[in-house]
Amino acid sequence: MRQENLFDRILLYILIPSVFILLYLIFIWSPVEKIMGETQKIFYIHVGTAWVAFLAFFVVGFYSVWTLIKPNMNRYIYAGISAEIGVVFTTITLLSGMTWGRASWNTWWSWEPRLVTTLILLFIYVAYLFIRKMDGSWEKIAKLSSVFGIIGCLNVPIVFMAIRWWNSKLHPVVFGEGKNQSGGGIEPEMLATLLFSVFTITILYVFLMRKGAEIEKMRHIVKKSKNKLINKLAS
């Protein structure tokens, strides 16, 4: 227990200064983009949250497989918390992406592969959380939700491929791919800011995950002792 607290504390001490440095990097240090201007700054937050949104989903899938193989309360809790954080980050990704799209594509929403994949990802997450809200023993829900987590995880790449074939025009390809395998390219300062943003948001995710799991465990303990007390009073 003590060691866990230490780890959390270290995370917190890294996290707080990182957030401030990140804000400084984004808004003051990094250069202003030539064509899009200030709105391009959304990009740093957008990419970071999108990365964590997909990472969180991957973690859900991973813990789902593990829970199915060896049912364990902790794994079950981690999968659920990861999904909850995933919903938040996916929503942020979508909202920041929409704001950015409004500024640079002049439309709030375009039916473009990554957008639609992210939206469907959000719905899969929400569906997953609905399953976890079913009543019944945690063993039963752990099994059902894990099964859904695995299927949902498998589905995400297929959704992406399908929508990519369907229509792909707007999203800027910044890294790799593109016509000449270079994409739009990026300034070194911008890249540094972006990497730092991804790093900070990932730390935030790990921190939220640990805290969330702790709260969930406490909730289970309270529930257990409550039941015990009720039984005692009833008898």
Binding site: V126, I131, L144, S146, M161
Partner: protein, 227 residues
């Protein structure tokens, strides 16, 4: 493997026999799909030229909406008189229950499609010029994928009290790639465009069908284990 298939056929036969006697679910599905067509005729003027553009989507919308009705019933009806517990305790592989249900649901939905799709073309005054063979191929591949995932999730949702509400929420995001592929392929065939494009969509659907059949087949016993 052979026993699994035989048991699956027995279960599918049982379901279909019950359905043939009561004709409740299939009747509801037919009426519902007819109503969906009528509602869509209010939403889009059926006399205008826009109809051509929405027909491929409509084919899938009626399949999925009517299909969800049938899927909802397939496991919830087993809860009466604890039939599901009976199935679970029967000396058969849980996967055969799944396969049997898939077969039963598939025949149910295809028989609804056999009536509702011609009715759709009839009511919207659509002249079919594409190739029948490819059209049937695409519809069948799409429906199989829909039923594979749908049956699995129906079994999952049957554990919840509000399973009728839960099933569409679980199912629709998961079948979205299938839906995209289905609608695009159907459009290509109906508009008699280049068939090779439709084939690549068809391949996507077939890959989806096989992948999810395998995964659902393996995972089904975890759903059946718990009561």
């Amino acid at each position: 493997m052979k026993t699994i298939l035989l048991d699956a056929l027995t279960i599918a036969g049982k379901d279909l026999k019950g359905e043939l006697r009561s004709k409740q679910t299939i009747g509801m599905m037919l009426v519902f799909s007819a109503l969906v067509i009528i509602i869509f005729s209010f939403a889009f003027d059926p006399t205008s030229n826009t109809v051509k553009a929405i027909i491929p989507g409509l084919v899938w919308v009626i399949t999925i909406f009517a299909g969800i009705l049938g899927l909802n019933r397939s496991f919830v009806s087993e809860l009466e008189n604890h039939c599901l517990t009976g199935l679970r305790t029967a000396p058969i592989d849980p996967s055969s229950i799944y396969l049997g249900k898939v077969l039963a649901n598939f025949s149910l939905v295809t028989s609804v499609q056999l009536i509702s799709i011609p009715v759709l073309f009839l009511l919207f005054g659509y002249r079919f010029t594409g190739s029948y063979l490819w059209f049937c191929c695409i519809v069948i591949c799409g429906t199989i994928g829909f039923i594979i995932v749908g049956t699995f999730l129906a079994a999952l949702a049957a554990n919840a009290k509000n399973s009728e509400m839960l099933l569409p929420v679980l199912l629709l995001p998961l079948i979205s790639p299938l839906l995209i592929a289905g609608v695009q392929a159907t459009r290509i065939v109906l508009e008699s465009l280049e068939i090779t494009d439709a084939i690549s969509w068809l391949k996507l659907m077939i890959a989806y069908d096989f992948l999810f059949l395998a995964v659902c087949f393996l995972l089904f016993e975890y759903i059946m284990e718990e009561s």
